[in-house]
Amino acid sequence: MSLLKEPDYGTPPKPGPAVVDVEIDGLPVTVAEGTSVMRAAALAGVDIPKLCATDRLDAFGSCRLCVVEIDGRRGTPASCTTPVAPGMSVRTQTPKVAKLRQGVMELYISDHPLDCLTCSANGDCELQDMAGAVGLRQVRYGYQGQNHLDATADRSNPYFDFEPSKCIACSRCVRACGEIQGTFALTIEGRGFDSKVSAGAGESFMDSECVSCGACVQACPTATLQEKTVLQLGMPTRSVVTTCAYCGVGCSFKAELRGTELVRMVPHKDGGANEGHSCVKGRFAFGYATHPDRRLKPMVRERITDEWREVSWEEAIGTVARRMREIQAAHGPDAIGAISSSRCTNEEVFVVQKMVRAAFGNNNVDTCARVCHSPTGYGLKQTFGESAGTQDFRSVAAADVIVVIGANPTDGHPVFASRMKKRLREGARLIVIDPRRIDLVRSPHIEAAHHLQLRPGTNVAVVNALAHVAVTEGLVDKGFVADRCEGFAEWAAFIARPEHSPEAVEGITGVPADELRAAARLYAGAPNGAIYYGLGVTEHSQGSTMVMGMANLAMACGNLGRDGVGVNPLRGQNNVQGSCDMGSFPHELPGYRHVSDDAVRTVFEKLWDRPILADPGLRIPNMFDAAVAGSFRGLFVHGEDIAQSDPNLQHVTAALTAMDLVVVQDLFLNETAKFAHVFLPGASFLEKDGTFTNAERRINRVRAVMKPKSGKHEWQIVCEIATAMGYPMSYTHPSEIMDEIASVTPTFTGVSFELLDKLGSVQWPCNPQAPEGTPVMHVDEFTRGKGKFVVTAYVPTDERSTRKFPLILTTGRILSQYNVGAQTRRTENVAWHREDILELHPHDAEVRGITDGDTVRLASRVGQTTLRAHISDRMPTGVVYTTFHHPVTGANVVTTENSDWATNCPEYKVTAVQVGLAI
């Protein structure tokens, strides 16, 4: 399509039904109460000139261009700040307002460079548009007066320039930074004519608190804040609406191109997850897609010590098929398997598991969700009956108390964090349960009511204590429990035991009992309490227990089944939800249906014309064990760098080395490819057509911005391997794959590309009962009927700090980098995070003689690495923290084989370590 310009109604919509009748230039329009005259006019099809107004920001009333006349009222009110009143009659074009608007424009242009023709915003400049709209013909003040034309540009940000000489002081950037992003990195400095936009305390953008989300660039009506790519490449000419491939928020973007070249990614206002907002990764860090490191030709080698040899697709695919079959012939049908990736589309993931089940003839398929959110799938399925979060993101705007457990949304899920922070600024209370003092605990204009700074590994003890308070202090929602749940009495008897009281667990968790009690009362007493959690919940030996513990707590307090409540996983990767939905787990067929279920198996057997094993397949860690044992010898790894991201890397590399055939499909020769025999070039998300499903079950369309650089779609490659192995798989378009998914998956019954293109996105379940999807689940009853209370005993991890390893290491993510960094490290985002850093408390540093910036040795019982230390009082004593974005650090060299008891999700968050100065 040509360049997509979403309409801008000037001021945000107001909730409520359209009940106020007004007339704009004689055109009748009916709008909600509180709607601005400007928005009413836009809805009536009348554009009122404006510069400081945009419907993403609250009305501000500063440019005075939108003045109108209203019958029966004095003067010329600004239409952006004037709400409609019943029967109001507005005139938007009168000689009086025309003269005022020209007068305003005359003032603007008297202090603006006259370089429209050479300006980077030429053609995309609201100031230019408005000069035209108001019919500006002269600037009688001349251009010799006081002005800002000599103001110095700030080009410090790697992605955008700040050109203050072009600034019209509309404050849209400042307001966007505050209202939308919630960082407040920008301000107006000085006052009057000296007013100017300032980042931080008169700092450069890079030195300021700016997180480079791009909201200011998006908001700027002129070329003052402009993407460097636009400066270099020029204005884009067409747009493709697609979905970001970074985190689980699933932001919609307009990929804007000039010819075939991607100029910029612009957040899409209609995007259900992001509503026009973005973060530094999705907005700017797309350069990896064209990075020279990308491998575009298939490659093959006999042994991993050999040089790679570029081959044709036919040869590569033939090699994979032949050698896989050889392994099966020699070692049995179960000796091969595949790992699919949560970064790939639903369609790609679906064909991978189909290939494994139908062509490989076993269930040896697992997904990287194994190592992040498998306990979510297990725990929520057990309690609620569905392996997914309960709410849509919008729901957070109705929450009164928000509990964030083991998640760091401002870094990991920044666009959702902005929505959450907006609600917190409106007055919702916050409880943070995390060993680290994450930004949400206290950052400008946000402060948690309670920060339960627990010891890593004691989540279950904490959640049980919270539930204990709810149960023993009479805070249970008895009606909800009686009507909607089962197993309460048994659970309540268990949880009311004295050993679960805050006082009893204080010694275990390190959380003061009174804090715990206060937090429990706050959550249980809230009209709407919502729980959001991340990998700090799941990546533990009791990850599944904790998920069920949170579900118990939410049910006990009646916090399910409506807006503003729920139990909500913040998914790590873009398609964690989707890859789980698509049957990537070795025990489940698409739609979370167990392989032992004969009826379900029959459906697929019929469709695929192959028998499907009732025996669950190997999970990722089991695959490694089996490989080392010699019974598992061939692995297809789809878009995942297990040799960097999985725990206990020594064991992983031992397993990879032991295998006969490792096939890696990826953009880059990643760490895993070092052990591969066949390398199949992958496609970036910009080259893909398909769907991603985000953390709120929202199925978003991914649309190709360019053709696959390798010449083949990833789903195509998988199909060709299966076909070469003797199981024909072929589709002409990924929409056919989705049609197949919909035909066999009850929660996807109504989903099709056609529907998605029509509605923009759909949240599953989508079926005849919910033809446009289901934003909030379990409204009238739980998926499993009654919500089930599950007794959640706290079983401490075996990983204990010892004299030799006295500290606990926990890991996480930072804003600018993503996962193993394969993408973000190949963008300018390295400007913010060049290396992984070990954070430790000043006391722990002091006793070890470590000063800030020292290179330290980090050792656990399984391995060691070195990295630089940062001393930080965000850490509690006894706990150290690092990210795992850089392969050189290899943080997972030290993480252990411990895992969740129910799902084998690795215990990344608890590793006993020692830290010392590196010699």
Partner: protein
């Protein structure tokens, strides 16, 4: 690190997480979990451990294995 221990560790861990139940229930829960989520390769290696004398295995696991096998 021995891989034999892998199954032992996982099975014992499952049992540990059912310890709050009466033994009969715990055995049923462990058996059910292993049956539902474990691959036959893992199960066979667990059986082998039991057959080799069950050293280091939680008694609940041993009973659960008996139950699955029958």
């Amino acid at each position: 690190m021995s891989h034999v221990i892998s199954e032992q560790r996982m099975a014992n861990q499952i049992a540990a997480n059912q310890r709050h139940l009466p033994e009969a229930d715990a055995v049923a829960a462990v058996a059910g979990h292993i049956d539902r989520f474990w691959n036959s390769f893992l199960r066979s290696r667990l059986y082998a451990l039991v057959d080799a004398g069950a050293a280091g295995l939680d008694p609940v696991v041993v009973k659960a294995v008996e139950r699955i096998r029958t």
